[in-house]
Amino acid sequence: MGLEERSLAQTGPRPERPHAHADWKQMLGIGIVASILGIAAGLLIDWFPVAASEEAKPIDTLWDVLIIASVPVFVGVSVVVVFSVIKFRMRPGEEELDGPPIHGNTRLEVVWTAIPAILLVGLCTYAFIVLTDVEKAQANTMEVRVVGEQFAWTFYYPGEDGKEIATRELHLPINRPIKFTLQAKDVLHDFWIPAFRMKKDAVPGLDVTYRVTPNRLGEYPIVCAELCGLGHATMRAKAVVTSEAEFTSWLQEAAKPPAPPAGGGGNSGKALFTSNGCSGCHTLADAGSNATVGPNLDKVLADKDEAFIKTSIEDPSAEIADGYSDTMPKDYGQRLGEDGVDALAKYLSEVTKGG
């Protein structure tokens, strides 16, 4: 008789396994204690960044509810696994022994199908309520148009007589509902202010909107959350929540200079460099930027004249630095205007001389 045949013939009646006895009550007790500890840990951990909008609270509460619902499920599965391993593991002498041939239990199967289904429908209902709550329209909403491009954000505020005011920094008055309208010039971006909890993609060809109500003074980072190319990680900006009065005076200030396309800063070359997002990609010692997405300007412009720099801004495809691809946006000529390009080229040629 070979091994194959022996395996076909199963062992006879099962001997009792007195050690292999798991106490339901003990297991349940340990499970409950572990669940409580797990839930406590889950609620005590400081998960979120600071909450700075009305929407943050219901979302953070939803998270807590999900923790409370989830931990017992994981603890339940783990406790059964651990108990089985401890109680039912094979002892010496049991090598040939089989377990009892239990095939199923209809009542048990119905129960463990029904309970999760009910729990999940319950959670979905609650999530639906939270969603309606955080997305509902409110009176006195201010609209801000947000435009993403590789690799910077521009914000447009409605100004007087229909003229928009463009800025590079997002300022918002406290406790005023905001409706962001997101647009993208080139590829997908995602406008996310973690402190406000909401986010959505900026999609080329579409207007995507969402609403938040900032309710805490301070400065919060703005992040691009959708992979948008080389400079994705550096596509950052700042959201400043101020009082209504401060906001009004800031907006008046921003509206003063010939706003688009120069942005919030002045007209000096250095200001143009930082306010137009150049520093997001290029290293330039004079402007204090050390980004590595695009060519290092201190190096590649060291032996170039003003005319070359001007062409490179207006038509970036004309000559591409070694090791880089043709990804620089092509519309800087339009955005900066002729004077802007001249000023920026002059500045760049000056600060990279002899570099």
């Binding site: 091994l3 194959e4 076909l8 199963q10 979120f48 960044p49 219901p58 939803l62 999900l66 989830s70 994981f74 599965v77 783990s78 059964v80 696994v81 391993v85 039912f88 593991r89 094979m90 049991e94 022994l97 089989d98 377990g99 009892p100 041939p101 239990i102 095939h103 199923g104 239990n105 199967e109 199908t113 999760p116 289904a117 999940l120 429908v121 979905c124 999530a127 639906f128 969603l131 955080v134 080139d186 590829v187 997908l188 995602d190 996310w192 909890r197 909401m198 986010k199 959505k200 993609d201 060809g205 980072p221 992040v223 691009c224 959708e226 992979l227 190319g229 550096t234 880089y324 691809s325």
Partner: protein
């Protein structure tokens, strides 16, 4: 030399590859001349001409390679009306290691080809992951620029998904499944060989994209338009590589479906099939229905990129969101393509190692089919922040949450299978138990992600990275390890080193949790994913994650060493070291070339451990087997 170049094989394939590339160059040059475009300038070739030749070669030269390899020889004979030698089995079985490097029609050889090839690409993918973690060990730029960084994680994900998890399951099933259902081979052995050989093409293409002008594809494995339609040429190495990997898995899935439906041994009714067969049946349905969608999405990208079409160009009224809808209509079911075969493996192992019938066998099969159906109704949960219409989010949230019910049924049934069993805690069992806990965790974070307001906040953060790795590493990869250890004696005829196997498990289990656990936290704290750089506040955790990931990467070396050294010199394995009932264990290890000397007869359920005198199959034809049918054989039908 000429003789070698005339006979099918790798030398002829190499020659044909060169010829194919020249063929593409000729077409491009001729077409450019015909339309009056310059191809040659300044004594060299223009950049546009070079790109066009490379692009066409990516599409066509692999087919020349396959022809050179001999993958189509039989069909060419048939098409030319020559005598096609149906009973010629010279391409069957392996006698030396060289036989693994030619077109082989033996499902067992193909199975091993699959497994070894996919583990090779898994090692490359893992190496890329460690480079990603090395760059992220500290804020700021360490040693790669953002272009290379984006390439690293994109190629990592693409290799792991398309060249490791999906094909390694196909490889394991290729080896085991025909044996399990008592078939001498797969239904279409030559198609099976062709399916395999498309894989290395896809893998080499994706890996080689780092050499492409402008760098590798760097848009993530999702390759969202319009970033992908405007990227440098490296993007096409993904777009076209996916076509080969996808064609490979569609052909394999069809092969599995036909094999399972038509080639089961006498007596093997659907309700007597082992759950691994059920799992691969369900997976193959998913593959056949879903994979054409990713092929379509990538062809659209190719047309936009190469021929100036406007499928996804917003400035020409293309629809950017359409890409995501079509892509996810494949790629969400793909998550289950990467899970269901693992569910099958775990069912086999837990039943054998607990010495108990699988609990709720029929519910286990039905829940697989339920997951297949529901899997097609949840794709838009990847798009809650994408700017699609608002109303669709609610039904998608409900279906996404509800898919946890059939998954839960499976987990509870496995727990009930453990209960009161006689648990053999060896290496395959440890991996199975590790899977059970880690996959539960991944499933729970999946339910959290289904809740729309929560998803809006954590989508595209490291929380997603944590979730996907708990599902695909703690889920799929743990089942793959379990399966490889479990069937290693059958495949090689040798036993693996048990102590090394356990060391591998514990080191992986601990470092896996240390790597991906904290990612939940940094994600909720606000660290976006796919970034080469991050804010200072995440520095501490990222360093910890990176160090853990290096340990995780190194733990793989124990596995590789164990497999290689045991295969070369491990103790001989008996036919049935686990005392399992399913048919593959009733033949020698490794099995004979044509699996069974005579087609076996199945007389009972596959998991009747503890049923006195139970027999699953008899290695004799039906008419001889019938009188010997054991008394307890029909208990499967009564008991469930």
């Amino acid at each position: 030399m000429t003789a070698r170049l005339r006979a099918p094989g790798l030398p002829r394939a190499g020659l044909f590859l060169v010829l194919g590339t020249l063929f593409c160059a000729a077409i491009i040059i001729a077409a450019r001349e015909a339309y009056g475009f310059e191809t040659f300038a300044d004594g060299g070739i223009t950049a546009k001409g070079q790109n066009a030749i490379l692009l066409l070669s990516l599409l066509i030269a692999p087919l020349w390679f396959l022809i050179g390899l001999g993958a189509f020889d039989y069909w060419f004979y048939w098409a030319a009306g020559k005598k096609e030698r149906a009973e010629d089995h010279s391409g069957h079985g392996a006698t030396s290691w060289k036989d693994y490097f030619r077109v082989n029609t033996d499902h067992k050889v193909i199975g091993i080809q699959y497994v070894v090839t996919s583990f090779f690409f898994m090692l490359i993918g893992g190496l890329l992951a460690m480079l990603v973690r090395a760059e992220l060990a500290a804020p700021g730029s360490q040693f790669v620029d953002p272009n290379v960084f984006n390439g690293l994680f994109s190629v990592h994900a693409s290799l792991m998904i398309f060249l490791f998890i999906i094909p390694v399951f196909a490889g394991l099933a290729n080896y085991v499944l025909p044996l399990m259902i008592g078939a001498p081979d797969m239904a279409f052995p030559r198609l099976n060989a062709l399916s395999f050989w498309m894989l290395p093409i896809a893998g080499i293409m994706m890996t080689a994209s780092f050499l492409a002008p402008g760098g590798s594809f760097s848009t993530g494995w999702t390759a969202y338009a319009p970033l992908s339609t405007s990227a440098p040429l490296g993007q096409m190495f993904f777009t076209i590589g996916v076509q080969f990997a996808g064609a490979s898995s569609i052909a394999t899935a069809l092969n599995f479906l036909v094999t399972i439906i038509t080639m089961r041994a006498p007596g093997m009714s659907f309700w007597r099939m082992p759950l691994l067969v059920w799992a691969n049946f369900s997976t193959s349905l998913l593959v056949v229905i879903a994979t054409p969608f990713v092929a379509a999405s990538q062809f659209f990208v190719l047309f936009d990129y190469a021929l100036g079409f406007n499928f996804f160009r917003p400035e020409k009224d293309g629809d950017v969101l359409m890409y995501q809808h079509v892509f996810w209509f494949y790629s969400h079911p793909a998550v289950y393509i990467m899970m269901l075969p693992g569910f099958g493996i775990i069912s086999e192992i837990l039943s054998v190692k607990s010495r108990k019938p699988i609990f709720g066998y029929r519910m286990m099969a039905f829940s697989l089919l339920a997951i297949v159906l529901l899997g097609f109704t949840v794709w838009a949960h990847h798009m809650f922040v994408s700017g699609m219409q608002d109303w669709i989010r609610i039904p998608m949230m409900v279906t996404t949450a509800i898919i946890a019910v059939p998954t839960g049924i499976k987990i509870f049934s496995w727990l009930a299978t453990l209960w009161k069993g006689v648990l053999h805690l060896d290496t395959p069992m440890l991996w199975a138990l590790g899977f059970l806990t880690m996959f539960t965790l991944g499933g729970i974070s999946g339910v959290i992600l289904a809740m729309v307001p929560m998803d809006i906040y954590v989508s595209d953060t490291y929380f997603i990275v944590a979730h996907i790795h708990y599902v695909l590493y703690g889920g799929s990869l743990f089942t793959i390890y379990a399966g490889v250890y479990y069937w290693f004696p059958k495949m090689t005829g040798r036993m693996f080193d048990e102590r090394l196997g356990k060391a591998h498990f514990w080191l992986t289990f601990v470092s896996f949790n240390a790597t991906f656990g904290p990612m939940h936290l940094v994600g909720v704290k606000g660290m976006p994913r796919r970034v080469a750089d991050y804010a200072e506040e995440f520095a501490g955790w990222n360093l910890f994650i990176s160090l853990s990931s290096f340990v995780l990467g190194l733990s793989t070396l124990i596995f590789i060493y164990n497999m290689v050294s045991s295969w070369r010199g491990g103790p001989r394995a008996s036919a049935n070291p686990w005392r399992a009932l399913t048919l593959e264990w009733q033949v020698t290890s490794p099995p004979p070339t044509f699996n069974f000397d005579r087609i076996p007869t199945v007389v009972g359920g596959p998991y009747e451990y503890g049923v006195p005198g139970h027999v699953h199959g008899i290695l004799e034809p039906a008419e001889e087997a019938r009188p010997k049918q054991a008394a307890g054989a029909s208990s499967a039908e009564e008991g469930v």
